[in-house]
């Protein structure tokens, strides 16, 4: 029962279904024991100092199965977590950061607007990691992507191609990926995304991105003799 009246219009059985999805994750039992509200997690948490965010309340809502509070957190709080896992100092062995990881997956799998909003502007990063097998690449160092890093980024982007050739390790003479990734390796990665349901997840979050990724991956998969499962 919550005193604030947020998301009152969302039916309780929707909230219950989402909570059950979180609880059904194989890691849930590893991440939540009892909570005696000692506050160590909040004391250690960087996000607790900048946002109205409390890993203790995340654990408490989950332990109490407080559906309205859980649903609020699912929409308003989980994207404030910095996933640093300082909260693993919990003496009961709880993992509030881990609970949040599970909650985020559930939010995305269910196409929550708040999840889509949190990942606005992030699509290019998902594209990079899923299609090239490296998370960031040299050519992402553009002033418009990191304006608050200063004119130094401009200098880098102007000299990028030359400076990348001036690196001794031979796997790093790349600009569109962090290092050279073999085509065979990429094929294996694409298969992993397909076989574990990640491609379906992407469809929920960003249909346009999903289309582009499917195109990019199909080519390589077909060459290797696989059909996208």
């Amino acid at each position: 029962m919550t005193l604030q009246a947020r998301y009152e219009d969302v039916p309780l059985d929707t909230k219950e279904r989402l909570f059950d999805e979180v609880r059904a994750d194989i890691r849930f039992k590893d991440y939540l024991f009892g909570c005696y509200e000692c506050g160590i997690c909040v004391a250690a948490c960087p996000s607790a100092r900048f946002y109205d965010f409390s890993p203790r309340k995340i654990a408490q809502a989950a332990a109490r199965q407080d559906l309205p509070m859980f649903y609020e957190q699912l929409n308003d709080d989980i994207w404030n977590c910095s996933q640093c896992f300082s909260c693993l100092r919990c003496p009961r062995g709880n993992n509030p950061g881990g609970l949040i990881t599970i909650m985020r997956e559930v939010a995305i799998n269910n196409g929550l607007t708040s999840a889509r909003q949190a990942l606005e502007g992030y699509g290019r990063v998902v594209y990079k990691i899923m299609s090239t097998g490296t998370q960031v690449s040299p050519d992402m160092l553009q002033p418009n992507a990191f304006p608050d890093w200063g004119p130094h980024v401009q200098e880098i982007s102007e000299n990028l191609e030359l400076w990348r050739r001036a690196l001794p390790p031979d796997t790093m003479h790349t600009t569109s990926t962090a290092w050279y990734v073999d085509d065979k390796t990429l094929t294996e990665l694409y298969l992993i995304w397909h076989m574990t349901g990640v491609m379906d997840m992407i469809k929920e979050v960003d249909a346009g991105l999903h289309m582009i990724l499917t195109d990019v991956m199909e080519e390589l998969l077909e060459e290797a003799g696989y059909s996208a499962d």
Partner: protein
């Protein structure tokens, strides 16, 4: 009243008299071997020769000296290439055989902690695919990024704990034609640097006795799976993770303390990309300003990609707000390489770093102007097409 300087020594002595206590947690490596005995997977053994280090509850961890399969870091190779270059250079300087693979994907954990656009099965499959690739090469994985390392420790726990997950991932590896392998130890490169620190100290060519250093320990190195991280009884009495601090001391520089030592840098995974006010605020207010105020260091050293990025890049915007910032940031790998005479541009690649590092180089006794001229000559040669790439021979010329 005189200050009793023996208080801490007396306590440490009393502690030693108590004797060792049993570690409170189970040793997951025992379970890893049990699963091998049951035919569930292959355990890749740590190759000889290896060095022993101690972890949090006094257990021994094996760190192989050579034959490393370098599990590279996206952020390092992508944005701070001097970091990875320095790690390779350290191996080469000691004449150690290693493998720098193209059959390696990102651990994908940065994306996972940022956006959760993945799931436990995919993350475990990516990890095991990489371990399988290492095994096939005959070299033993050495993980460059702190998040990859912490994440793989988590994956190991999840795979040991859940048979269903193991079965799912084994099926995937079979389909990919990759062997299903778990390494005997999950080794972070900074653990290797720590194990080898006396070798580096022996080959030092600079006098670092006037260099004050603040150390930032990466959250994912020591907070994920807390029992598997290096704690040295000679460093902070084994109360804090010792990995980088011990290296700084071995190289003859001075470790200075500050009151936000245990704080996260504020990287946030997603925050540094799309919610950067949090990252730069945290990095500035909780780390850099405090370090400057309390320790006034010449350089901040850390052992993780995200931490170097955050602490180095966040200072520019803060200067516009007249915050007390302006401390150069780099990895202990780059610092160790410089200490042994590595070129600041060809090897440490400091031109990719944001915060002003040239006064530091001067203080270390490095003529950066001459070095930069040499590097500009290298760039000219590359531009003219006299060479396509810089080589390792060029780097040490």
């Amino acid at each position: 009243m005189p200050i009793p300087l023996t208080v801490l020594d007396d306590r440490r002595q009393a502690r030693d008299d108590r004797g060792a206590m049993t570690p409170p947690t189970e040793d997951i490596r025992e379970k890893v071997f049990e699963l091998e005995a049951r035919g569930e997977w292959i355990v890749q053994r740590v190759p000889d020769p290896w060095l022993p280090v101690t972890t949090k509850y006094g257990r021994t961890k094996k760190i192989p000296i050579e034959k490393s399969w370098h599990h590279k870091s996206c952020g390092q190779c992508g944005h701070i290439p001097g970091y990875s270059t320095s790690i390779f250079w350290l191996h080469r300087k000691l004449g150690l055989d290693y493998n720098d693979p193209k059959d390696q994907t990102s651990c994908t954990a940065w994306n996972y902690y940022a956006s959760a656009t993945s799931n436990v099965g995919a993350q475990a499959a990516v990890a095991m695919r990489n371990f399988g690739a290492a095994y096939e090469s005959g070299y033993f994985p050495q993980i460059h990024c702190g998040t990859s390392y912490g994440h793989y420790k988590e994956v190991r726990e999840q795979l040991v704990e859940h048979a269903d997950l193991r079965d799912e991932v084994r099926r995937i590896c079979d389909k990919l034609g990759k062997p299903f392998v778990m390494p005997e130890e999950i080794v972070h490169y900074s653990e290797w640097v720590y194990a080898m620190r006396d070798e580096f100290a022996r080959r030092k060519v600079l006098d670092l006795s006037s260099i004050d250093v603040t150390v930032h320990p990466a959250c994912h190195y020591h907070k994920l799976v807390v029992e598997d991280a290096i704690y040295d009884p000679d460093v902070y009495g084994g109360q804090r993770t010792a990995v980088v601090s011990a290296v700084v001391t071995a190289l003859g520089a001075n470790v200075k303390d500050y009151s936000t030592w245990f704080d996260c840098c504020g990287f946030g995974f997603r925050h540094i990309l799309v919610q950067r006010d949090f990252t730069r605020s945290f990095a500035t207010l909780r780390k850099i300003e405090v370090m400057r105020e309390e320790a006034n260091p010449d350089v901040v050293l850390t052992h993780d990609t995200g931490c170097v990025t955050t602490l180095d890049q966040s200072q520019f915007a803060a200067r516009a707000h007249d915050r007390k910032v302006g401390v150069p940031v780099m990895s202990e790998a780059q610092f160790s390489a410089l200490a042994m005479g590595a070129h600041p541009y060809r090897v440490a690649q400091l031109h990719w770093h944001n915060t002003e590092y040239r006064p530091l180089l001067e203080k270390m006794g490095i003529d950066w102007r001459e070095r930069w001229r040499e590097f500009e000559d290298d760039l000219e040669r590359l531009k003219k097409g006299e060479a396509e790439f810089m080589t390792w021979e060029d780097a040490d010329a």
